[in-house]
Subunit: 411 residues, 2 copies
């Protein structure tokens, strides 16, 4: 047994209480480092999807709205996600996509801060965040300023009372850098502005502490670390004290206080239900609910400890194996999400060569090899094996093969 | 055999080529007259849902975006729906909910008609249509006028060039009355305005003729007659000549011309793809795609002929059985969608009593017993049996029982 292999074995033993691999169906021969893009299928998700289709839809038909409480699912699943992101009950609902929820959050935030002219976001946010912020600002007559996260506190202070909202991501989707949610939130609050956090790359992998950190609004993804399935609906958090003022620009009937009263006037529910719009995709929503049972019995702090141990070991293994690619991800635990990104001029081909070896990660423009470490179903042994495969791809210059350089449409 | 039963048998024989009952899984003992609210499960839908979960998601994992062409699904399914609503390829995409799509359509339409101040819709539209139109108008600084559909052409002529958009439903969700799509469209075009049609209660049950009728924009539901499953995503139609001007206010990354280029600037796709926003709920979307195979080999005109035969026989049976409740639905074929609604002061309890007999319909405020006739899986024998059950409920005053009068939260 190599030194790395014994180190992995020791860490797997140490973290055995957080190993949920048996709850998931990972194909044989695959080391799946893309759970930050599409989380893996769990046994519970598969079983529930089948039950929703065959029994609830197929047999209960329309009665499933009551008999299987489809109607309450967006809030019920929202509360479960809330418990993973530090939000007390009644502040999170699952609905729509992240982009759509961000639009609601930005418009609603601006309405809570009338007379303020500016919204800030990071130019290196996942692009949809920038596009949606710009779209919302155009409709609202506001100015969108693109300010990188490290410079945001200073710019927030300069803007003062002209700032309505700072919309930032907790973890950078490419580099995996984790930003300081409470500090940036405080900076915005110091000038009376609001903050909306995008949790797509943090929810389910680390403590977020929305309530404790003072966050006003947040959105996040159901299909990355939460493993809810492809295109699982997104969640939106509205801090309790903002609920009454949350004016949803997508005022759909499912956010109404009395949705079956069929009134012509929109009277929003007093609760987080007001962030709902139309009918949620129930196959996807209820499959997400089932996937969340993988977290049962685990605290998010335990999940974080396992995540840091996995990413830490991966970096340690790269060092030990002499892989000298520049790390885009910080080495310090406190600044690292649950992924490790490396830079390589042929990053696309490196990722393809890894996939050919059964190590599935992804490529992000322009030069990022992005490897996500979904803590629930990866072992330290997987991590060491992945590092060894990467070392072999580089050592053998496998990325120079034509088959790996040829681009397909979706990466 | 009663006269009605032999009439049903004759009609079932006459329409046998459009009988798709065997493609669906209708529970034994159920006559399902709520397919206009939640279409029934088909064999293909169940099989595909299982395949998407276990093989595509579970085994292909992230590679399914290419290997199972998840990326192209919104347009691929859109084109299939397009073929059912009279839209040539490249004008329909499946994404989001109807409410969200209506928001996009209204904002985009107003941007195609700058300087015009007014949007019209029917006060008796399904409420979400009114709420969303009002929300969009508030953001845009436009005036929403609520004008019943029969009065719309006259009001449109009065408004003239101040009208930006008329947003109407082809079939009234409560009464099942079908409106004249080409005529109202012409009235709007006569003053240079646009029309957006809500097809929730027509798509899949009758010819819509979007291209032929001159419609500019349309939205519709995937889970009613199309039987895509609970909360299946909605579709949006943008007439080809408007695509270049369709400015989506929900400018998400999946509508970008180069979504993986990760540019900070939003450059919308030249095609209907620009109406996409975030990641679609793929379990729901691909299940919808499978459900649409029930239409394979059928023209929508044949489906309509079967639908009219079913609803016509139901009305005939009510007459023959002496059921004298007021019809909310027109008797004339050309003015009737694929449902029959009756008024009764205890409509809620009547519906519950029918459900107890295995005839599933629904109640709509304030006094509507709404019975939908999904043409693909209902027979004329079902229709006669349903009419006989209704006659028995009324004759026996079953609706007076406490168990049927007690309201549950969701109807």
């Amino acid at each position: 047994m190599t030194d790395l292999a014994s180190r992995a074995a020791a860490l797997d033993a140490e973290h055995s209480s957080t190993d949920r691999r048996s709850a998931f169906r990972i194909p044989d021969g695959v080391i799946y480092l893309d759970g930050n893009s599409l989380g893996a299928l769990s046994v519970a998700a598969a079983e529930t999807a089948a039950d929703v289709v065959s029994r609830q839809w197929g047999e209960q038909l329309i009665r499933a709205w009551n008999e299987s409480d489809w109607w309450g699912a967006p809030e019920r699943v929202g509360d479960r996600i809330g418990s993973l992101v530090g939000a007390g009950p009644g502040q999170v609902v699952v609905t729509d996509s992240t982009s759509v929820n961000l639009f609601k959050a930005i418009v609603a935030a601006s309405r809570m801060r009338p007379g303020r002219s500016t919204v800030l976001t990071d130019p290196d946010s996942f692009p949809t965040d920038v596009y949606i912020a710009r779209s919302a600002c155009e409709l609202l007559g506001l100015t969108l300023e693109l300010v990188p996260t490290p410079e945001a506190p200073a710019r927030i202070a300069e803007l003062g009372e002209s700032l309505a909202l700072a919309a930032y991501s907790q973890v950078d989707y490419r580099t995996g850098e984790q930003w300081d949610l409470p500090a940036l939130t405080r900076a915005a609050h110091d000038v009376g502005a609001l903050v909306c956090w995008d949790l797509c790359h943090s929810a389910g992998a680390m403590p977020v502490g929305l309530d404790e950190g003072g966050a006003d609004l947040a959105v996040g993804c159901g299909y990355k670390y939460l493993s809810g399935g492809p295109g699982a609906p997104s969640f939106i958090y509205v801090r309790r004290e903002h609920l009454a003022a949350f004016d949803n620009p997508l005022a759909g009937w499912q956010g109404h206080a009395d949705p079956f009263g069929m009134s012509t006037d929109y009277d929003p529910a007093a609760t987080i239900t007001r962030a709902r719009v139309g009918t949620a995709p129930l196959l996807s929503l209820l499959t997400l609910e089932a996937a969340l049972t993988a977290y049962d019995g685990l605290s998010i702090e335990e999940v974080r400890a396992r995540s840091l141990s996995l990413t830490g070991l991966f970096i340690e293994a790269l060092d030990a194996l002499g892989v000298d690619l520049p790390l885009a991800t910080p080495r310090e635990d406190a600044r690292r999400g649950s992924q490790v990104s490396l830079r390589h001029p042929e990053a696309y081909a490196v990722v393809q060569a890894l996939i050919a070896r059964g190590v599935i990660g992804d490529f992000r423009e322009a030069d990022i090899v992005r490897l996500g470490f979904s803590p629930l179903y990866l072992s330290h042994a997987d991590v060491v094996a992945a590092a060894e495969h990467l070392a072999a791809v580089l050592e053998g210059r496998e990325y120079e093969r034509d088959e790996f350089r040829a681009r397909s449409t979706v990466t």
